[in-house]
Symmetry: C3
């Protein structure tokens, strides 16, 4: 399995979620270290929960601090750049959708690598993808995105399910990853655009 490829996607998802955490810190007018705390908790929260449930300890960012560095750098950058309040919440929603689509695939893949069956791998994909945002919204004192009327969990489930199903059918990892990502992101994007519920 092309680990470097999935690692790149993982880090990209972590960075995107960290930006969404930093945007919530921005809405709350926190200082730069508040941005970093909320960005890091969002970026590494879902994956940490996944590692704990699987018993893969210490968690990934203790083993490989680069992922935490990414969160801190990206959150600090957001602090200096997030000056346009009116577009902030839309940006958060779309970045969250991209992070969701990346993490539902990466989370499922990490579970398969840890030796779980397909059912648990799908559950881990959905959990990794949704709980970073849940942690962000709870820490930030916002109503969790997962409670909004637009389709959310469904998109993560479709992406993780497609990925695990295609891997089970012997499809290449790249094709399964691409399909899982595209399916989750498309469903969530359509839901956001048309206010599906």
């Amino acid at each position: 399995m092309p680990t470097s490829w999935l690692t790149a996607l993982d880090w990209f998802g972590i960075a995107i979620f960290a930006v969404t955490g930093a945007l919530v810190a921005s809405r709350k007018r926190m200082d730069i270290f508040g941005f970093m705390l909320l960005g890091a908790a969002t970026g590494i929260g879902g994956g940490s929960l996944r590692d704990v449930m699987l018993g893969q300890l210490p968690v990934f960012w203790v083993k490989e601090p680069a992922s935490l560095v990414i969160c801190l750098v990206v959150s600090a950058a957001t602090f200096f750049l997030a000056h346009i309040p009116e577009s902030r919440y839309r940006a958060l929603l779309w970045l969250d959708a991209a992070g969701l689509a990346l993490f539902c695939v990466v989370g499922a893949d990490k579970a398969l690598e840890a030796g779980t069956g397909g059912f648990i791998a799908v559950a881990m994909g959905v959990m990794s993808a949704t709980f970073g945002g849940v942690i962000r919204d709870i820490l930030g004192g916002e109503s969790p995105l997962v409670l909004r009327k637009e389709i959310y969990v469904t998109a993560a489930l479709a992406g993780a399910g497609a990925y695990v199903g295609l891997i089970g059918l012997g499809v290449s990892n790249a094709a399964a990853t691409g399909t899982g990502f595209a399916l989750c992101f498309t469903i969530r994007a359509l839901a956001l655009h048309y206010h599906w519920s």
Copy 2:
């Protein structure tokens, strides 16, 4: 120790808590996968926290996915059946009381099995019984039940304490389980009925 007997009680508690999670999803008008997420988080949340604190990893539902399947089936069934809004919150309170009574015993038993002393076993019983509901209420954006004026933690403590005390006195597991469950449920039921605080 009759493991199959305690496993049955455990699964029953998981199913009951999953229904309470699904009822919160219903109050929030979430879709079926939202029901499943909130039902699963509530059903397996307290036990997962217990397993993590004890270092029994991966957590039980990764080892034995049947418990997660139960949560998902029960939550989906609740989605199709929970049509009577006015009775929903009362149902939630009573089911939560039953789950509390089952989990305070099961949680304490799991801790004893993991080799802890009686004091930590009581603490694990209280934690398993209360934190599934805490996770449900926080994810659902509701004020935690544990904060309500009616006696709540006290009931879990009485149930877990009675179970561990009776096991320590050499009483049979079935009698200790029955006593712990009955004590916790009775205290909570009286508190709900008479609005004890």
Copy 3:
């Protein structure tokens, strides 16, 4: 390393955070077991999260129940003594500052003992120091202190950073601990007093 010395500071921090949890229970007019639950969750929450992330399981209070006993005793004492509502929130803020200063040092030290590098040790110090309070505020239905405008994360970061930096420079543990504590507490105290943001 003088373990008994750091253990004493750890227990002192745990006791102080437990009081802050009990004060939130007091604001919510909970019963004595509610005080104990919230006190214990606050006192041992940050350290439990640290142990889980590091993979040091079971968590410290399962290995050494004395720390949980401290939380319960201190919370019960607060129940009988916390009668002066108007001073409660100020007391909470100042005790939280002391706990923050103790835990940013103890958390960083525990991570170094577990073999992490300095960067992760600083992160663990900040996480241990801030998440006990986050758990308290979320369980208690209060807006997290970490979101308030006054400098908060910054103080924990300064304290943990000073401790790890001085240890890295070969300074004695006592001097590094004293400096880290004093730096964090002073920054937070000035922020509270002058309403720095």
